[in-house]
Symmetry: C2
Subunit: 258 residues, 2 copies
């Protein structure tokens, strides 16, 4: 058997015969970590030109050159679903980013809310995680990680044609029936007509912070016509679990999993 | 607002007035980490008697006593779905265990296969992760983490009434269409009638090792009447992502998420 397929995201244009000069980090990865030598095959993508098989032409310690041989996959695009999330602890946010890319989110939108339990968000780090995940899952694109912004500001400028699915943990408490303080609002919402995700719709998934949304934030969300509740069962899911489960359900009913 | 609900899994019976002597680790958690004092409320469950609110009666450095006051939730049970998985890197296996509990797996069954890329499996550690996840997600049970066993042995003794969903990554390669070497078998299988998960069925999800199943293992699986393929979209998912996505889809169509 052959070894695992090595894929690298690059910025340069990809075309037959095109030479690609590697960055120091890329050269280190291919030649020191993966121990490739001249003639070895690497697959490249840049988010525009599909996937190409390239060959190592020069392998140095801190530099190297690949030459594109043949296109191996056409350029794809993820379904138009965003993940809007509140950064949680660093490793769990990294995990959420990685998984969202694998599951097929088009854009990752971190937001701040009143109850936010995280260090300063390192967009560059998370963009790097997204790139690694795209390399690994054989996507031909890398979703953008947007700059952190307040949830209210994001909602103010929201395109109402993009449905925002809100995985509201009060629905879980209500479904479990274990919490006598489960707000009447959950019941009211459960009674509202909810149409399932529709194939081809523009959508986003909203995942709250670890401490939950405040009463004011909940009232704001409940009043918005483009917000639809999404139930993720009777257990209380951590933020990153809820994000993955919601993306899975959306992909299976409206995205590219069918 | 009140602080987060503190939940603890205990072994002792739970009933009104029942006193619960804490282990050293439990006392440390409640009194040193969470800084609770006498009179504070803690929620307890043991997998048999539902969830109880208890009160701290004595708080010591290495010991303590709680007294059960009132039942706050009836005893629940997870839907009868198992996760059969090949241990991957330690942190990713821990993550898979934690998420499987939150999503609602009844039993976690680690198996060994030819291509297995993991250290020795620490069942006790993973059982502890499962317990913590149950405490956190407000389940009233803790799934058992079974002992590691060879996949072939597990399949030999398999109850044919339990459907085994196999998230076969060849289906992803086939769906993506990017791999000209996608085996004909995937096409054949895609053409086979596949009934969706049915409410109330006994089921299990099978997730392969990072390097994939061998040709022999694939042939074995394909020949078993209780094995059903499960498609998780066109991207190549890591083992833990596939586990979570498959459990999510099963819960939404056959489990307790409806």
């Amino acid at each position: 058997m052959t070894g695992p397929k090595i894929r690298l995201h690059v910025e340069q244009p990809l075309a037959a015969g095109q030479a690609i000069a590697l960055s120091e980090a890329q050269a280190n990865y291919l030649f020191a970590v993966m121990r490739l030598g001249p003639g070895a095959a690497v697959h490249l993508f840049n988010g525009r030109d599909g996937e190409w098989q390239a060959e190592v032409a020069e392998a140095g310690k801190r530099r190297g050159i690949l030459v594109c041989r043949a296109q191996t996959a056409p350029q794809g695009a993820p379904p138009d679903v965003w993940l809007v999330f509140v950064p949680v602890r660093k490793d769990r946010t990294a995990f959420m980013v990685e998984k969202a890319v694998e599951l097929g989110a088009a854009r990752l939108v971190p937001v701040s809310t009143r109850r936010m339990n995280a260090e300063r968000m390192r967009i560059d780090k998370h963009q790097a995680h997204a790139t690694e995940a795209a390399e690994q899952c054989e996507a031909t694109w890398v979703p953008e990680v947007a700059a952190l912004q307040p949830l209210e500001r994001l909602l103010t400028g929201w395109d109402p044609a993009r449905r925002l699915y809100w995985a509201d943990e009060d629905l879980a408490r209500h479904a479990a029936g274990g919490d006598p303080a489960a707000p009447a609002a959950a019941g009211a919402r459960a009674g509202a007509p909810v149409s399932p995700p529709a194939r081809g719709e523009r959508a986003a998934i909203l995942i709250g912070p670890e401490g939950g949304f405040t009463t004011e934030e909940r009232a704001l969300l409940r009043g918005l016509p483009f917000v639809s509740p999404l139930s993720l069962g009777p257990r209380i899911l951590r933020a990153e679990t809820a994000a993955l489960a919601a993306l899975t359900l959306w992909q299976a009913s409206a995205g590219d999993w069918r």
